[in-house]
């Protein structure tokens, strides 16, 4: 007689993705951080009278201390306060550029989707063509033509980042066009323009808004990269990229704190923005919940 004993199989971890964690887990910390960043960036320049060009060579190149949490730079300016300014500049650039790129993208996508036919095909091929040029390189070309400035950077970001929203809007418009309420509007005598502006675009709006929020970190990143290469905002303007670029020199003589703070703040802000918009996206399209971004 064989000894038949039942042994429990050790619990294996080879299981499918568990149920997504409660959105609150992501929303609360991200929203808190975002609120703190937004408040700081908006309020601090109002409250603290900070001449950010204020130079005090006596306290230059000081490592972090109680008086200067992230130290001072080579001109004796407080790194943390300068970071607040830099973040303010970078976020402004990012938001403006993201909005412009969303407008361009929505226009292209809506036209392509609602007119259709060869027009659609040509526009979408154009989108594919622009998508094949590396973003930063195209951005560099645009900045080179317009010369480095705030406007040039914003245009450069807007002209390289409209593709995503164009694709989203087009596919949304295509799927909306097949819905009965559009047929009803057309039967009711609505003109093409009216269908587009009163029926199609309002229904695309939430998706566009979401895409724009998700675009902000990309835009900020692009601005930072351009500034770091010396092709972004003018050197005296504080932006995250400029600060890191400036800090490069100090790094060689041991001043690590000057680049630490801007980078960390940028990471935290980016994570917070994508955290909040990620929760929002999950609400909007539950099917795409498994997507890669946070």
């Amino acid at each position: 007689m064989t000894d038949l004993t039942w042994r429990p199989v050790p619990r294996s971890r080879l299981t499918a993705a568990g149920p997504p964690r409660s959105p609150r887990w992501r929303l609360l910390p991200s929203a808190t951080v975002l609120a703190i960043v937004a408040l700081t960036v908006l309020v601090v320049p109002l409250v603290v009278d900070l001449n950010q060009q204020y130079v005090d060579l006596a306290i230059a190149n000081q490592p972090p201390s109680a008086a200067h949490l992230f130290g001072t730079d080579e001109l004796g300016r407080d790194v943390l306060l300068r970071c607040v300014y830099a973040l303010r500049v970078s976020l402004t650039v990012g938001i403006v550029a993201a909005v412009i790129s969303a407008v361009v993208g929505t226009a292209v996508g809506a036209l392509a989707g609602s007119i259709g036919g060869w027009f659609d095909r040509i526009l979408m091929r154009l989108v594919d063509a622009v998508a094949s040029v590396p973003h930063l390189l195209l951005g560099i070309v645009i900045v080179a033509i317009l010369r480095p400035s705030l406007t040039a950077v914003i245009i450069s970001i807007a002209l390289t980042h409209w593709l995503t929203s164009a694709r989203i809007v087009r596919s949304e418009v295509l799927s909306l066009r097949a819905r009965p309420f559009i047929d009803a509007a057309i039967v009711g005598g609505a003109s093409r323009t009216r269908v587009l502006t009163r029926h199609l675009l309002p229904n695309v709006a939430p998706q566009v808004l979401l895409a724009t929020t998700l675009m902000v970190p990309h835009a900020v990143w692009h601005e930072t990269a351009l500034s770091f290469l010396g092709l972004g905002l003018p050197p005296h303007a504080a932006s995250v990229g400029n600060m890191i670029n400036d800090a490069q020199r100090s790094l060689l003589i041991g001043g690590w704190w000057m680049s630490l703070a801007p980078g960390l703040l940028l990471i935290i802000t980016t994570l917070a923005v994508s955290g909040v918009s990620g929760v929002w996206r999950d609400r909007l399209n539950p099917k795409r919940r498994t997507e890669l971004t946070w």
Partner: protein, 324 residues
């Protein structure tokens, strides 16, 4: 099979040629629309003393006052023949400028990309296998943080720690001092830039592999393999990973633009003698001959990469409808 891959290749090439033409023409028009006059640029301050005849002669020689289309046609004719014009900022033929630097960039990018892929596969598999464990959280958390961090900031941090503080590895260039370029020397100098490029590109692959593995754990053949009593590591490597790798192939192509962007920034941080420096110089000096050639070239590489990824996909999975 071979024939359909040939058709795919032909169709993609038929798309690539117009794209390259459109991109180069658009760049050309943009350059023309900019307020920069190459002749004035060439003379610089000396234009004050230069005789009007000489300026006029140069204008005629360079053909700067001809219509855009005629100029573009002239450029295209020469470009096809391999003559990309002269770089104004570096005073060298564009082909020589690119030729000197391209090898270094290709070296950095290819090794960095391979390493990023390996990291992605290994870490992604580990994270999926131990889903929910501290290891998984560490890996995914680290990936999200790295995705949000600017490449050059990571580069500076690595430079500071390993080259300036610990002094383990050289932090810039390809040689130390005046010693000649040698394989060993380059290998040592390569470690930091390649590592930074790899860890900045890896997060995306890691998260992708993890996600796809988790999805494939619910598929029938994986459940079947587990039901037959195969050990977990065999199921993961032999059954789950294989099927989830297919979509990975197309993503390799899609990731190329980011890779080129990342390489530009990493090269700048580590003073790598690749094309990054030339690109920035060209942009600062409005050197369109060089800038345009670099952009068109990068676009060509991206299109080629996409084609290659699609062909590999078709080879790996014959079910793929090639005429989609």
């Amino acid at each position: 099979m071979i024939r359909s891959i040939g058709r795919l290749t032909l169709r993609r090439l038929a798309f690539a040629v117009p794209v390259l033409l459109v991109v180069s023409f658009a760049l050309f028009v943009l350059a023309k629309a900019s307020p920069f006059d190459p002749v004035e640029r060439y003379f610089g301050v000396r234009i004050i003393g230069a005789s009007p005849e000489r300026v006029a002669q140069l204008r005629a020689n360079w053909g700067v006052d001809e219509p855009v289309v005629a100029q573009y046609w002239a450029w295209l004719r020469h470009a096809v023949a391999g003559d990309l014009g002269d770089s104004l900022s570096l005073q060298q033929p564009v082909s020589a400028v690119i030729g000197d630097r391209l090898g270094w960039t290709v070296l950095l990018v290819s090794v960095g990309f391979t390493l990023a892929l390996l990291l992605g596969l290994v870490l992604g598999t580990l994270a999926a296998w131990r889903q929910g464990s501290w290891l998984d959280r560490l890996i995914t958390g680290g990936c999200y943080a790295l995705e949000a961090a600017p490449v050059f900031w990571v580069g500076l941090a690595v430079l500071y720690v390993f080259a300036l503080q610990l002094r383990w590895l050289p932090g810039g260039g390809v040689t130390t001092g005046s010693e000649p370029v040698s394989v060993g020397g380059v290998a040592v100098h390569m470690v930091l830039p390649v590592a930074v490029l790899a860890i900045s590109q890896a997060p995306w692959f890691v998260l992708f592999v993890r996600q796809n593995l988790l999805e494939s754990f619910t598929q029938d053949h994986v459940i079947g393999a587990r039901a037959r009593g195969l050990p977990d590591h065999l199921v993961v490597s032999g059954h789950a990973l294989r099927t989830s790798l297919l979509p990975f192939l197309t993503l390799l192509g899609a990731r190329l633009p980011e890779l080129i962007t990342g390489a530009l920034l990493v090269e700048t941080v580590f003073s790598w003698p690749g094309i990054a420096r030339a690109t920035v110089e060209a942009a600062l000096n409005v050197d369109f001959a060089l800038l345009g050639a670099l952009t068109v070239m990068a676009t060509g590489v991206v299109l080629l990469g996409n084609l290659l990824a699609d062909v590999l996909y078709a080879l790996a999975d014959p079910r793929v409808a090639l005429d989609g």
